[in-house]
Symmetry: C2
Subunit: 421 residues, 2 copies
């Protein structure tokens, strides 16, 4: 077997400890923010029947971007490209037992067959947070407040990122009236608006013409989207009034935000870096009021939520110089072994530390020279190195060296314990 | 679309918050034990090229039990059935940069297409812990000590579970000599011994006869396996002498333990519940000294480690009545809203609590009656319910009810903060 068959599969990432530590840092910020607002953690299988996504996820996502899995039993399964349909399935299965509103969050892995590029891979992590069973501006405001709180916690300011939001229901009323559109024309226009930021103005106008819109409609659209009237969406205004004052600057109403996924029914929003060279939203979400009934639920269970992927966020942090450097070694103490016949003494010391819940690492090659052991400790970011030679053993002491300060001293095992615990 | 197409895929599990909380409890016990011994966390992709497993994982695992995934680029990918081959791949890719010995652990998801049964599903979680780059009895003992420490931490005693261990190298020498076997005969016999515990004695003897073993060999085998000489494996004896005294009772030498996977080269072990009705090992592991070179590595990097799946362990805990009941609600405080016009006051209070890192949940329907709000709080395991009516607001106080004790009192927001943080 040639060596090159053992490469990482295209679009996938290997998480060596120093990288994984950063993943854990990020997921803890997300999940702790969710907990601050009372959200419980859940998880779903990563394999779902393909039917679960039909007519809910975008067709593009489903037809071109899913990994299909052969169930040996004959069903067509997919590696989940998103969590919301699974969330709806879990809720419908227990809609008579669960107590609403539900506050649920999840950190998990997802797969999309896309061209790998900066901030986008085929396997990624995503934080999903959703509030199910209530349709109120207060609920919308809670979800938006959580999104802004995450940025605040990460030390990111409104000048770095803006959460652009709109109201799909208000937009339909507004554009249908102003441009005299029927339901089908509106739907076509909505899908076009979803691409507006990715296209040149002239190309976009030509595209609308091809789609059958009149010159008058095409010329009116930009100013309608750019300057909505103050009463565009009273619901959105109420929602924004319920955001804490110190977070209000994170938000701008922007009618070009419509979101690609079919299941959104009201509030929609996306976070965009203001200064970044990344040409994509950092994350998005919105209100979806019909999802559980669409998959067979009996109850009216409106929902609102959003999902943040890890990859765009990490690229954004790199640009802002906000990625922390975290030691991936969970143990700060390296216990050397002086010689094969004192090995048991060093082993007894680490056992003593571990019994007292102190993380400690032991040299496991009794013949390794002390100098080599110090080199290993230094290369692996240990703060303390302990030597237990015959003299220390006779005096019931250990020799402790602090690799950060260079300081060295003789102390008892009990003193060591109080120093490090 | 009929409702029944939206079922959980066979062999998969939905993790509602109360179940997921137990998963988190278990994974934290595993990962904290690893940290106690200085093991860093890492992760690998869940999709790997099928070639990575050839000649390493058991053929049975590969041919019958993998989920195959269509990479739209044409490669044959599998949903990982185990982690060790990925671990070897990560190490080989950086064998000149990494500092050995490596102490690595991981908690992740795996997939095997097996018949779902008690303690076995098609999607499961597994804790993998491995020590790479050193071949010494001290290293073997560290891995075994970690395994026993997990049981001790979980409150499980040597009368509940035994870690049965053997030495594949010693076994080959011992059986080849005593039964005059050549290399091929030995390999055949080893694969047979792997099934010995699952078969009736007579059926097993007949099977050996079919495999070409003599009556003499067949009749000698049981006593050879049951009563190994004291010097069967000096290495294993040294290893056991390095286990802390309070953990020694967890271990028994048992030559019937050989492990199915082809890559083990020395120490092998399995944990078996002594009293459980589960007819399978709780987990297993061993030493694998050739794995990285087998996939193209240049360095000699011996390894030792083990993996514990979640499902058998959970069944075992259920039998022992050791599954904890954990509140899945991360917030202990429910803040009610008295009326629509005092909603902002309640919102200000939760904002104040959250600013001070106290998890708090707010009612989001300003028109919901107070009685309904109390019902919701009680059903969702909140400890405290807060009422902010016009009188409390005038006096800058909150009314606090402790649902556990029934106690009710008026306190200031600052007093509330010191009570709950």
């Amino acid at each position: 077997m040639a060596k090159n068959t053992y490469k990482t599969v295209k679009g996938m990432r290997d998480f060596y400890p120093e990288i994984w530590t950063t993943q854990l840092w990020l997921s803890n910020i997300f999940l702790n923010t969710g907990r601050l607002f009372g959200y419980s953690e859940y998880e779903a299988p990563v394999l779902e029947n393909i039917n679960l996504y039909l007519d809910k996820s975008s067709q593009e996502l489903l037809e071109k971007q899913t990994f299909i899995v052969n169930d040996r039993g004959g069903d067509r399964l997919v590696l989940r490209p998103e969590l919301t349909p699974s969330l709806a399935r879990l809720i419908v299965a227990q809609e008579n037992e669960l107590s609403f509103p539900l506050r649920w969050q999840s950190w998990g892995r997802f797969w999309r067959y896309e061209q790998p590029q900066r901030g986008r891979g085929r396997e990624f992590f995503q934080w999903n947070i959703d509030l199910i069973g209530i349709d109120s501006p207060e609920a919308d405001a809670e979800i938006l407040t959580i999104a802004a709180t995450v940025f605040q916690t990460l030390g990111i300011s409104p000048s770095d990122v803006q959460i652009r939001l709109s109201d799909r229901q208000a937009l339909q009323k507004y554009l249908s009236e102003k441009l005299s559109l029927d339901q089908n024309q509106y739907k076509t226009l909505l899908q076009a608006i979803d691409k507006i930021d990715k296209m040149d103005t002239k190309v976009f106008a030509e595209w609308l013409q091809d789609l059958g819109f009149s010159q008058k409609q095409i010329s009116q659209l930009p100013s309608l989207l750019a300057k909505p009237p103050a009463n565009f969406s009273p619901r959105l205004n109420t929602t924004l009034s319920l955001i804490p004052n110190d977070l209000k600057d994170f938000f701008t109403i922007d009618l070009k935000i419509v979101r690609g996924l079919d299941y959104y029914t009201g509030l929609v929003f996306e976070a965009w870096a203001t200064t970044s060279t990344l040409k994509r939203a950092l994350f998005g979400g919105g209100r979806y009021n019909n999802l559980t009934q669409q998959i067979g639920g009996q109850k009216n269970l409106p929902g609102v939520g959003f999902a943040i992927g890890d990859m765009a966020i990490f690229e954004f942090f790199k640009e802002l110089n906000k990625l922390p450097s975290i030691n991936s070694n969970p143990s700060s103490i390296f216990v050397t072994t002086f010689s094969p016949d004192t090995y048991q003494n060093s082993l007894d010391l680490v056992n003593f530390l571990r019994k007292n819940q102190v993380n400690a690492t032991l040299n496991l090659d009794p013949n390794l020279k002390l100098g080599q052991q110090f080199k290993y400790a230094s290369k692996n970011n240990f703060q303390y190195v302990i030597v237990l030679g015959p003299e220390e053993i006779d005096n019931n002491q250990v020799s402790l060296k602090n690799l950060d300060t260079g300081e060295q001293k003789l102390i008892s095992p009990d003193q060591l314990l109080s120093l490090v615990s």
